[in-house]
C-alpha cells in the first residue's frame, strides 16, 4: 500500500500541457474580436463623422430643418430625418405590439397544436423575407392602397412605411413573446386551473404577467429593428426633405437619408462626413435602446429571483 501511494504522489504532479494553453489564448483572442469590431465601428464613425461639426454647429445639425448638402456653404440640419424616424417607428410599434403579443398569446396558450404548427412556419416565413422585397411590396402594392384609402397625393408616405415596418418587426415580437410565454412553467398554469380559474383568467393573470420581461424585450427588439431598417423606408417613405407633421406626409427617415445620399457624396467631403454623423447618431440611438432593453430584462429577472 505504502509503495503504491508513493507512486501516486509522484504521478499527481502537474504536467505541462502546451497545446491546452495555446488553444486557450487563441479562443480569448476571438472573444475580444467582438469588442474590437464594435470599437472599430464607433471609432470609424467618430473619425469620419465628427469633422462634420466643423462646418455646422451641433445645434444647427440636430435642430436645423434644412438639408442642402450641395449649396455653398452646405447646410446640414437633420431634424426632418429624425422626426421621420420617430413617426415611422412609433406607428410601426403601435401597430405591431398588440398584434404580435395577441398572436403570441394565441399560439402559446390557446391554439390547438394543428393551428400552431401551421401558423408558426408562416411567421418564420415572414421573418425570412428580405427587406428589399418588403420594400417592393410597399412600393407596388401597399402605397396605392394607402393613397386611395386616405385620399393622398402619393401613397409613398410615413404611414405606408410604418405599416411595412410593423410587418417586419412582427416576427421578432411574436417569436420572442411566444418563447417567453412558453417559458412560463406548466406548473403555474396547472396551479391556476387547480384553483378553479378559467383558461382566459390563467392567461391574463398568470401567463402574461409571468412572461412580461420577455415580452418587454420583444417589443424593444422590434423597436430596434424599426429604427434601423433602411431599404423599406428608402423605397416607401416618400423621401421628402421637409419636417413631417403628419404620418401621411412623405418623409425621409435617417437610414434612408444615409442610403440615398452616400452614393453621391464625395469621399471625405462635407456631405460624406455629415452622413457619417447621422450614422453616429443612429448608432448611439440603437445602442441606447439595446442597453435599456437589456437593463429592463435584467431588472425583471432580478425581481423574481431571490
Amino acid at each position: 500500500m505504502a509503495i503504491a501511494s508513493a507512486g501516486l504522489s509522484k504521478s499527481l504532479r502537474r504536467r505541462w500541457r502546451f497545446s491546452e494553453k495555446l488553444i486557450e489564448s487563441f479562443i480569448l483572442l476571438n472573444g475580444l474580436l467582438a469588442i474590437i469590431v464594435l470599437l472599430g465601428v464607433l471609432f470609424l464613425l467618430l473619425r469620419e463623422g465628427l469633422p462634420a461639426f466643423a462646418y455646422t454647429s451641433p445645434w444647427q445639425f440636430f435642430f436645423g430643418t434644412r438639408w442642402y448638402p450641395v449649396s455653398e456653404p452646405p447646410t446640414f440640419g437633420i431634424l426632418s430625418f429624425f422626426m421621420a424616424t420617430l413617426w415611422v417607428t412609433l406607428i410601426a410599434t403601435a401597430i405591431a405590439v398588440p398584434l404580435g403579443v395577441g398572436c403570441a398569446a394565441y399560439l402559446a396558450e390557446v391554439a390547438p397544436a394543428s393551428v400552431r404548427e401551421t401558423v408558426k412556419p408562416i411567421v418564420e416565413l415572414l421573418a425570412g423575407i428580405p427587406s428589399i422585397v418588403m420594400g417592393l411590396i410597399g412600393l407596388l402594392l401597399l402605397s396605392p392602397l394607402v393613397q386611395g384609402l386616405f385620399n393622398l397625393n402619393t401613397g409613398l408616405c410615413g404611414l405606408t412605411a410604418a405599416i411595412m415596418l410593423a410587418m417586419m418587426s412582427l416576427p421578432i415580437i411574436v417569436t420572442v413573446s411566444e418563447d417567453a410565454l412558453r417559458a412560463v412553467p406548466k406548473e403555474f398554469r396547472e396551479a391556476s386551473y387547480a384553483l378553479g380559474a378559467t383558461q382566459w383568467e390563467t392567461v391574463w393573470h398568470v401567463c402574461l404577467p409571468g412572461a412580461l420581461s420577455g415580452i418587454a424585450a420583444a417589443i424593444m427588439l422590434g423597436v430596434g429593428r424599426a429604427i434601423g431598417e433602411t431599404m423599406t423606408v428608402l423605397m416607401v417613405a416618400g423621401g421628402a426633405l421637409a419636417v413631417p407633421y403628419a404620418p401621411t406626409q412623405p418623409m425621409m427617415p435617417m437610414t434612408a437619408a444615409i442610403a440615398s445620399g452616400i452614393g453621391n457624396a464625395v469621399r471625405g467631403g462635407p456631405q460624406y462626413q455629415a452622413l457619417f454623423a447621422i450614422a453616429l447618431l443612429l448608432f448611439l440611438m440603437t445602442f441606447a435602446v439595446n442597453l435599456v432593453a437589456d437593463r429592463v430584462l435584467e431588472r425583471q429577472k432580478r425581481k423574481f429571483a431571490r
Binding site: 395577441g102 427587406s131 378559467t198 439595446n290
Partner: protein, 288 residues
Amino acid sequence: MAALTISRRELTQRTAFSLLVLATAIVTVPVLFIIIYIVVNGAGALSWEFLTQAPSQAGKAGGIFPAIVGTFYLMLGTIIFSLPVGVLAGIYLTEYARANWLTRLINMAILNLAGVPSIVYGLFGLGLFVLAMKFGMSLLAASLTLACQALAMTITTSREAVIAVPREYREGSLAIGTTKWQTIRHVILPQALPGVITGAILAMSRAAGETAPILVVGAAFILPGLPTSPFDQFMALPYHLYTAAAHVPGMSKVTIWGIALVLLVVVLSFNSLAVFIRIRVRQRRFGS
C-alpha cells in the same frame, strides 16, 4: 347567482379568445398573400435564360445569372469570415470567460452589434475595408462588411448552443479526468454543432437578403461577367432588385417580381434548411 358568475367569466373568455384569433389572422393572412402574389406574378419571368444569362439593356432583357452567383459568393464570404470567430468567441464566453468587467464588456458589445442598423455597417465597411484598407468596391470588402454584421448573430447562436449543453455533461467529463479542451472538443462541440450550424445558415440567409450595406460598399447594377477574384466588383440579387425597381424607368413588372421570386427562393430555402436541421436535432435528442 353562481350560474350567473360563471357565465360572465365564460363570456369574458370567449370575447378575449376571439380577439386573439383576430390578431393571429391579421399577422398571417398578409404573409400568405405576399408569398402567393410574388410567386404568381414572378413565375412568368422565370426561364432557363433568365437564370443563366447575364443582363442586357440595363437589365430590361437577359437574365440575372451574375447576380445569383454574386449572392452565393457573398454568402460564402460572410460565413467564412464570421463563423470561426463566432464559434470560438461563443466558446470563450461560456467556457473560459470569468465574471469580470471584460466579459461584461464583450457581452455588451455583442448585444449592441446585433442592434446596429445595417446601413451603419455599410458606412463602416466603406470607411474601413473599401477606403482605409483599400480593398475597393469589391466582393472581399462586401463579404467582410456582411461578416461583421453577421458576427453578432454567429456569436450569439454559438453561445446559446454551447450554453444549452447541460452543465452536467461538462462536470461529468471533467470529473473523469479530462482537460478542459478535451471536454469542449469531445462533449460540448458535438452537442452544440447543430445549433451552431443552424445559426450559420440563418446568418447566410440573412446575408443573401441584405441590401443597404452592399449598396454602400460596392455592388454593381450591371456587370458583364462573373467576378474572378475577391477584389472584383460583383452583382447581387437584392441590389439588382432595388435598382431595377426604383431606378430603371420602364422596367417590366414581371421581371421585377421575377427577381424578387428568385431572391425569395434563395433566402427561404436556406431558412427552411435551418428549420429542418433544428427539427431533426430536436427529434434525435428527445426521441429514441
